[in-house]
């Protein structure tokens, strides 16, 4: 962040939300709902999770509320931006059969409403760029994802309170947000440093007529980010992960993980970069029409690698190996970088607390000739 930020006093945060609403955006922001942080429609700063902290550990996510006035003193909730763009269930098209049997296919590409999300994290911004690459930058851009993506405005907030499960500093994706967000905030004790990186962002922030931040305020912001990075206890092994993983597909450690893994698919559902989905067909009872949808899928289901009458990846060993090898290995060949942005969700939301950083370390150490 090189440009000089402005300063948004906490008492004026509402004016930012009002500006977005006035400009026609639906505003989503973090809210404490069902005891977790979730992005939900809001119109008032009073709905933000003031004083809420999350405590994450392998297999555990808990929140506590203190009397702190901070509204972004948490790491993340179970879902990133993924469901807002790549919908968990989405009709792709409808088909109608005419009297002569001819089929008429009718697209279901949505009319997406302009949507602004406040409180986006650096890990999730990085994952959004990965999903952009997957859905939009190949030979067949996805028009459903495109419609929502074009209408999305992002107000990111640097992460000052990473959870113990976070390792974005190690993947190089956080805790501070880059200029791929429209607006970036750093939360300080009484307000926010504010950067506007896009024309759409400036259209919202310029009418607020904010003063430049002081050198002390900028320094405090930098210090909070450095401290946040330093508190992250987890990191990825320094090894060349694609080479190590693909060279160790027969490694005995896969059997060790398989003894613990329930193949429930939670990790893939909370992962902000996982993109697998299956198609579903819902014919009308009369038979003249039918709806074709896509639904999130997981490589931990046996149907994922179904071929004819067999399952190519039948065991949880094969399924976990597929997931980990793809995330940290396959992604690099497919999209030029690892599919992991260090959000740590797969660690917290794994019901048996499997920790990808520990599994990778074990595979790398043993691959290097160490003892298990």
């Amino acid at each position: 962040m090189d440009s000089q930020p402005t300063y948004l006093p906490r008492a004026q945060l509402q004016t930012l939300i009002d500006g977005l609403l006035t400009a026609g955006y639906q505003v989503l922001g973090p809210m404490l709902e069902q005891d977790v942080i979730q992005y939900r429609p809001l119109d008032s700063t009073s709905q933000l999770p003031r004083g809420v902290h999350d405590h994450q550990a392998p297999g555990s996510y808990r929140t506590t509320t203190t009397d702190s006035t901070r509204q972004f003193a948490w790491a993340n909730g179970p879902q990133a931006l993924k469901p807002l763009l790549f919908a968990p269930t989405e009709p792709l098209w409808r088909v109608e059969r005419d009297a002569d049997g001819a089929l008429r296919f009718i697209t279901a590409v949505p009319e997406a409403a302009p949507t602004a999300v406040i409180g986006v994290r650096a890990c999730d911004l990085a994952a959004l760029r990965l999903q952009d690459r997957h859905f939009l930058e190949g030979e067949h851009p996805d028009p459903y994802y495109r419609a929502r993506r074009d209408n999305l405005l992002l107000v990111a907030v640097d992460c000052s309170h990473p959870a113990d499960t976070c390792f974005c500093a190690s993947t190089g994706d956080g805790p501070d947000c880059d200029d791929s967000a429209d607006i970036v905030l750093t939360e300080l004790a009484d307000g926010f440093l504010l950067w506007s990186y896009s024309a759409r962002g400036r259209a919202i922030t310029e009418p607020l007529a904010l003063a430049k931040a002081s050198a002390d305020q900028v320094q405090n912001g930098k210090a909070s980010i450095a401290a946040a990075a330093a508190t992250q206890p987890r990191r990825l092994p320094a090894a060349d992960l694609p080479t190590t993983l693909f060279a160790n597909q027969a490694h005995p450690h896969w059997d060790d993980v398989a003894k613990r893994c329930l193949a429930c698919g939670n990790c893939t559902l909370v992962c902000p970069s996982c993109f697998c989905h299956r198609s579903e067909e819902t014919p009308a009872l009369g038979g003249a029409s039918s709806e074709h949808s896509r639904v999130w899928d997981s490589c931990f289901t046996s149907g994922h690698a179904h071929l004819h009458s067999t399952h190519l990846r039948e065991t949880s060993r094969d399924q976990y190996r597929q997931w980990l090898t793809h995330k940290f290995g396959g992604w690099v060949e497919q999209y030029g970088r690892s599919g992991c942005t260090g959000c740590g969700r797969c660690i917290s939301w794994c019901p048996v607390g499997i920790d990808v950083t520990a599994e990778l370390a074990a595979l790398c150490a043993e691959a290097a000739g160490g003892n298990a």
């Binding site: 088909v95 059969r97 067949h140 993109f275 039918s290 994922h304 690698a305 071929l307 190519l312």
Partner: protein, 279 residues
Amino acid sequence: MTMANPYLPLDARIVERIQESPTLFTLRLELTDPAAKAAYAFEPGQFNMLYLHGVGEVAISIVSDPLEEHLIDHTIRQVGRVTGGLAALQAGDHLGLRGPFGRGWPVQQAQGRDLVIVTGGLGCAPVVSAIEYVLRRCGEFGRVNIVQGVKHADDFIWRERYDRWAECPDTKVLIAADVGSPLWPGHVGLVTELFDQLNFDPANATVMMCGPEGMMRAAARDLLAMGMPPQDMWLSMERNMQCAAGHCGHCQFGPKFVCKDGPVFSYDQIADLLQVKGL
């Protein structure tokens, strides 16, 4: 064919239905929209997604010659939910079609070279359009070897097609069945046991193979030993395909998306992956 929405099928009509064997049938399709029909073009080895109304889609390779006038042929084995329903359709019925998808056989760069085409079981279907393409362009290629293996002699279809191919100049057709029958004219045993009869110069040849992975592994091993460079051997891979656009993730084979990076790969691209079980 450019597609604004890669997921949206086009209406297609069945012009002819041919029963090839008790479980194999061919659907000859025509796109009903004249503009789409005129614009449709494919390469040997590519595939389409066929949609059965109210049931779903399935990936099927195209077996017709790319220069054939506007009829798109698919030979289908009746094995599952969608193919079982497709089997019941008759000429005049409609289905949905989107495609073509994927990278096909390297027929351009194979010009002037000897060809070794090794197939197993219904594995033949994805290479049929390549064989037809090559044999209709006699003289543009070197010596052509077609080696077909089946489990049981009764699984062998398209006998008249193989007979026709065998009559082409510089073309050798070799067939093998693991289990023979009284009138079986070919070898009883593995396809690889026929390799000493091949007419080809490994330094100037292209191999195309498709079929069960075990067969392709064994064939690649033996052809490598005969001096074939790995980058000149091409394999058509098969995985679960649902979107065909590289998005749904089901067809991943290691870091490859079979639907868009394949289905045809050179052996050097996937040799390591082929040795791993459960990918």
